[in-house]
């Protein structure tokens, strides 16, 4: 497959343009869920609420996800430089950090369920699990895409001059990180204060 980008009416790469349009729509998607969470914040039906949040634990998860953005951008930079070995190393590191984050979320969800906070306990719990669950699903999809990029690079299907592919994966991954930056403050820290 050729890495050359066809000339377009906008003078921009259509794939990258499509990714930015998609990310713009994703902001609206998560905006709706964050809104729902804030509206239902105090509707716990007598069940557990934000007091269950383990802020130090979630802070470590947030740190891990922020650092995965660093490894992602270093992977993209390595690809731009044509250093495929280093690019693969950073991409794999990003996927591993994403897995650590998802492991943390699975632990957190399990703890909450044991404490009586389930998807159907209250409007608050439903809004919380749907919002953070959808974010976790996005991270999981990101990990699958990262591992796909890693495999395609190993088999030579992603070539040195096709760094726009790594850039698009990176855009998605950074978006997932930036949404968590908002969730960490709006969903966890401010209600717990």
């Amino acid at each position: 497959m050729s890495a050359a980008v066809e000339e377009t009416t906008l003078g921009l790469d259509h794939r990258k343009l499509a990714m930015w349009v998609f990310l713009g729509s994703e902001f609206m998607f998560f905006g709706a869920f964050i809104t729902t969470y804030l509206i239902y914040l105090n509707t716990t039906n007598g069940g557990p609420g934000v007091e269950l949040f383990d802020i130090p634990f979630t802070s470590v998860s947030s740190f891990v996800l922020v650092m995965s953005s660093l490894t992602m951008v270093l992977g993209h930079h390595a690809h731009e430089q044509g250093d495929m070995r280093r690019m693969r190393m950073w991409i794999l590191a990003t996927a591993l950090l994403g897995m650590v984050f998802i492991g943390g979320q699975a632990y957190e969800f399990t703890t909450f369920v044991k404490e009586g906070l389930t998807l159907t306990t209250s409007p608050f719990s439903s809004a919380f699990f749907v919002l953070t669950g959808f974010h976790g699903a996005h991270v999981t999809v990101g990990i699958i895409i990262l591992l796909g990029l890693y495999s395609l690079s190993l088999t030579g299907k992603v070539k040195k001059d096709q760094h726009v592919k790594t850039e698009m994966v990176g855009l998605y991954w950074h978006f997932v990180d930036v949404i968590w930056v908002i969730i960490f403050v709006v969903v966890y820290l401010i209600p717990s204060g």
Partner: protein
């Protein structure tokens, strides 16, 4: 010709510096859980969140170095999301106490 590769990207050194700053900002955010900030609590957290947001989108996503068209898409999404929140909140404020969501 397409300009996807034509912009100047920061160096790895700058990426590391930004990641260090993001780590410090995350630590500051976490500190608000342990230290009493009074009325500054929420404004401080929102400010820190916005700084982190701008750093990730501007440098890691290269929005600072890319065409302004991408910026417009992102701002459209953010403004619509904020509008959604404000409209929903304003609508809920009209609901009398005791009627509602619980």
């Amino acid at each position: 010709m397409a300009s996807n590769a034509s912009h100047d990207h920061p160096t790895p050194r700058l990426y590391w510096q930004i990641a260090g700053a993001l780590a410090v900002l995350t630590a500051l955010e976490t500190s608000t859980y342990f230290i009493e900030f009074g009325p500054l609590f929420a404004p401080l957290l929102i400010t820190l969140m916005l700084i982190k947001f701008v750093m990730i989108v501007g440098f890691f996503m290269h929005l600072k170095f890319d065409t302004t068209l991408y910026r417009k898409f992102i701002w459209t999404g953010i403004i619509l999301a904020l509008a959604c929140y404000m409209i929903a909140y304003a609508a809920l404020a009209e609901i009398p106490a005791g009627v509602g969501l619980a």
